[in-house]
C-alpha cells in the first residue's frame, strides 16, 4: 500500500534538479530580456503593461497548481496510492506562492491602469480566496497529527476548494468586472499581438520550468520525510 517509488527514482530526481534549475534560470533570462527590452510598449498603458509577463503566467499557474492539487486528491481517493497525496502536499505551498505573486503583481499593475491597488470585484476576491484555500490545505496537514486521518481530511478539503477555480476563471464573464476578460487563453485565436505573445510564451515556459523544479524539490523532501517517519514507526 505504501510508496512504490524505488530509491533510484529519488536519485533521478536528485540529478534532474540542478539541470532544471539551470534551464529555469536561462529561460527566465531570455524571457525577461524579451519582456523588458525586446517588445513594444502598449499603446494605451505604456511600459506598465510589461508587468503582464510576470503577472499572467503566475496567475495561470496558481490556478493550474490548484487544479493539479484537486485532481491528485481525487486520484488518491480512487487509487489510494499515497503518492498522489504527496503530489498534492508538494504542490500546495508552491501554488500559494504563485497566488501571492499574481495578487501582488496584479495590484502593482492595477495602480496605473485602474487607479487603485485593489478593487473588490469577483476575480480579485476569488483569487484572494484561492490563497486562503491553499492556506487551509497546508494547515490541515499540520493541524491533524494522525497521518492517515490528515491524509483523508486534507484530500477532502482539496477537492472542496476546487469549486473556486471555475469561479475565478469565469468571474470575468459572469460579472462585469474591472479585470481583463480572457484575451490570450481563449479557445479561438488569441487577440493579442504576436510581438507580445512571444515574450509571454517564453515567460510562461520559464514559469513552468520553475514550477517543475520547485515541485521536484518539494516532492523529494516529502518522500524523505515519509521514509523517516516510517522508520520511526518500525
Amino acid at each position: 500500500m505504501y510508496l512504490k517509488i524505488p530509491n533510484h527514482f529519488i536519485n533521478i530526481i536528485q540529478a534532474w534538479i540542478p539541470i532544471l534549475s539551470l534551464l529555469t534560470l536561462a529561460t527566465f533570462s531570455v524571457g525577461l530580456y524579451f519582456a523588458l527590452f525586446n517588445s513594444p510598449p502598449d499603446y494605451l498603458q505604456g511600459d506598465s503593461m510589461r508587468i503582464m509577463y510576470v503577472h499572467v503566467p503566475a496567475a495561470w499557474f496558481a490556478l493550474a497548481s490548484y487544479s493539479f492539487l484537486s485532481f491528485s486528491c481525487i486520484a488518491w481517493f480512487v487509487f489510494r496510492n499515497p503518492n498522489f497525496n504527496l503530489f498534492a502536499k508538494s504542490i500546495a505551498p508552491i501554488g500559494a506562492v504563485f497566488t501571492i505573486i499574481a495578487l501582488v503583481t496584479g495590484s502593482i499593475w492595477g495602480k496605473p491602469t485602474w487607479g487603485t491597488w485593489w478593487a473588490w470585484d469577483a476575480r480579485l476576491t476569488s483569487m484572494l480566496v484561492l490563497f486562503f484555500l491553499y492556506a487551509a490545505y497546508i494547515m490541515t496537514w499540520q493541524a491533524i497529527a494522525n497521518k492517515e486521518l490528515a491524509a483523508k481530511i486534507s484530500a477532502t478539503l482539496g477537492i472542496i476548494g476546487f469549486i473556486n477555480i471555475p469561479i475565478i476563471k469565469f468571474s470575468v464573464d459572469w460579472w462585469n468586472t474591472l479585470h481583463q476578460p480572457a484575451t490570450i487563453s481563449k479557445l479561438s485565436a488569441p487577440s493579442i499581438h504576436i510581438s507580445m505573445l512571444t515574450p509571454l510564451m517564453i515567460m510562461t515556459f520559464a514559469y513552468l520550468l520553475f514550477l517543475i523544479t520547485l515541485f521536484l524539490i518539494r516532492f523529494k523532501i516529502e518522500i524523505l520525510e515519509q521514509k523517516i517517519s516510517r522508520a520511526k514507526n518500525i
Binding site: V129, A135, A136, A143, I144, L149, K152, I153, T156, L157
Partner: protein
C-alpha cells in the same frame, strides 16, 4: 419514525442546554443594535445596510454555534452511540442538519420582522429578506456542519474552521442581498445539502475510530 426521533433528541438537547431559541433571536437583535453605533451613518442608510447585516448576523450565529452540531457529541462520546444505533449515518447527519437549522435559524427568521420594524423596513422588503433567508440559511447550516465534521479532530481551533467556512458562504451572501435570487439560493442550498451530506458522512466515519 426513527428519523423524527433523532430530530426530537437533538432539539431536546438544544433546549436542555439552555433556552437556545430565545438566545439565537436575541443575538440577531444585538448584532443589529451595534450598527448605529459602529457606523456613523444617517438612519436612511441603515435601511440600506439592513439586509446585509441580517445576512452577516445569520452567518455569525451559525458560526458561533457550529460546535453544537457534532463537536459536543463527539467529545463526550455520544457520537459513538449515535453511530452504532440502527440509523444509517446519512440519516443521522440529515437529522443533525435539520435540528440545528430549526434551533438556530427559525428563531432568527421569526425575529427578523420585529427587527425590521425597529429599522423602518417596509413590509415587502421584510418579506423578501425573510424569503431569501428561508431559502439560503439551510445551505449555510449544512456547509458549516460539514466543515465542522471535517475538522472534528483537528486542534481546537474555532478560527481555523471559520476560515474554511467563510469563503463558502460568499455565494450565499452575494445572492442573499439580491431580492430576486431566492431560487438561486434554494439551488445553492440544495447543492450544499448534497455536498455536505457526503462530506459529513465521510468525516464521521473517519472520526469514529
Amino acid at each position: 419514525m426513527l428519523f423524527y426521533n433523532l430530530i426530537i433528541r437533538d432539539l431536546k438537547l438544544a433546549f436542555y442546554s439552555s433556552t437556545n431559541f430565545l438566545l439565537a433571536a436575541s443575538f440577531l437583535i444585538l448584532i443589529l443594535v451595534l450598527i448605529p453605533f459602529v457606523f456613523n451613518a444617517s438612519p436612511d442608510s441603515f435601511t440600506l445596510l439592513f439586509s446585509g447585516f441580517i445576512w452577516i448576523a445569520i452567518a455569525l450565529s451559525i458560526l458561533l454555534t457550529l460546535d453544537r452540531v457534532f463537536n459536543s457529541d463527539y467529545e463526550d462520546g455520544n457520537l459513538e452511540i449515535i453511530l452504532i444505533s440502527q440509523f444509517p449515518i446519512e440519516l443521522i447527519v440529515c437529522a443533525k442538519f435539520i435540528s440545528h437549522w430549526i434551533s438556530n435559524c427559525i428563531p432568527i427568521i421569526i425575529a427578523i420582522p420585529i427587527a425590521g420594524l425597529l429599522f423602518n423596513i417596509s413590509l415587502s422588503d421584510n418579506l423578501y429578506i425573510v424569503v431569501n433567508i428561508i431559502a439560503g440559511s439551510p445551505g449555510m447550516v449544512f456547509i458549516g456542519a460539514a466543515i465542522s465534521a471535517l475538522t472534528l479532530g483537528s486542534k481546537r481551533a474555532s478560527l481555523y474552521k471559520t476560515i474554511i467556512v467563510i469563503p463558502l458562504y460568499i455565494p450565499f451572501m452575494i445572492f442573499g442581498v439580491n431580492q430576486e435570487s431566492s431560487l438561486v439560493l434554494l439551488g445553492l442550498s440544495m447543492i450544499s445539502f448534497i455536498f455536505s451530506l457526503f462530506t459529513s458522512t465521510y468525516s464521521l466515519h473517519l472520526y469514529a475510530e
